[in-house]
């Protein structure tokens, strides 16, 4: 699966995107655990519910199953317009 980071999130991850080939990450909750273990500075933002998640360009709040070819985006609140 592909994970994309936007705005100041990518200043924490130092990556705009990364490819993940893991059989352990089966759902969004597991992905969240994975990214905060890899990028501990993201934890407080996840805890404060600042992070938004999109799976295949759709906002996702609940824990859903992830498939191999999914594109998961992680970003802060939007500020367009």
């Amino acid at each position: 699966m592909k994970i994309i980071y936007f705005a100041w999130i990518k200043d924490i991850t130092n990556f705009h995107q990364e490819l993940l080939d893991s059989n352990e990450i089966k759902n969004l909750d597991e992905l969240k655990k994975y990214i905060i273990s890899k990028y501990p500075d993201l934890k407080k933002h996840l805890d404060q519910e600042i992070l938004r998640f999109a799976v295949n360009q759709e906002y996702i709040i609940e824990n859903i199953d992830l498939k191999k070819n999914d594109e998961i985006a992680v970003f802060p609140p939007v500020s367009g317009g």
Binding site: I4, F6, A7, W8, A54, Q57, E58, Y59, A73, F75, P76, P77, V78, S79, G80, G81
Partner: protein
């Protein structure tokens, strides 16, 4: 029509290109957002607008469809720029075309609300010696 682009646009031309297709359009409401020189009491020099383009198209299409289901609309145009934009630059144009005024007004306002809440754009505001990522308040 949805356009996500770096380039500036001419609102009169963009509106005319749609208006000329429909002689039943009587009312056109447009909102244009600009980069202001001051935000939260800081002197802004420019912004850098980041976009998740694929998702932006998807979300903006949904916003337009919701507006169509609520009002009697003939056409609808959203242009949202990204990249580096200096003070006084246009950021966004939302134009709603209808027979009567209320439909175009209410839908344009609704789309702007929705766009600010849900469309995946992020503003990085640049001041003289620093910069700051924003999140929408209004």
């Amino acid at each position: 029509m949805i356009k996500i682009q770096k380039e500036d646009f001419n609102s009169d031309e963009e509106i005319h290109n749609i208006k000329k297709l429909h002689s039943n359009i009587g009312a056109v409401t447009s909102f244009i957002g600009y980069v202001r020189d001051n935000n939260n009491d800081k002197n802004v020099q420019s912004i850098n607008l980041e976009v998740y383009e694929e998702m932006a198209y998807k979300q903006l299409k949904r916003i337009i469809n919701k507006a169509y289901s609520k009002w009697k609309l003939i056409d609808c145009l959203i242009i949202h720029r990204y990249g580096e934009l200096t003070v006084n630059s246009k950021i966004v144009l939302v134009t709603c075309f209808s027979e009567h005024r209320k439909d175009s007004f209410d839908s344009c306002n609704y789309i702007m609300d929705y766009l600010k809440k849900d469309a995946p754009f992020w503003k990085n505001e640049f001041y003289k010696n620093q910069n700051e990522w924003l999140s929408n308040s209004n």
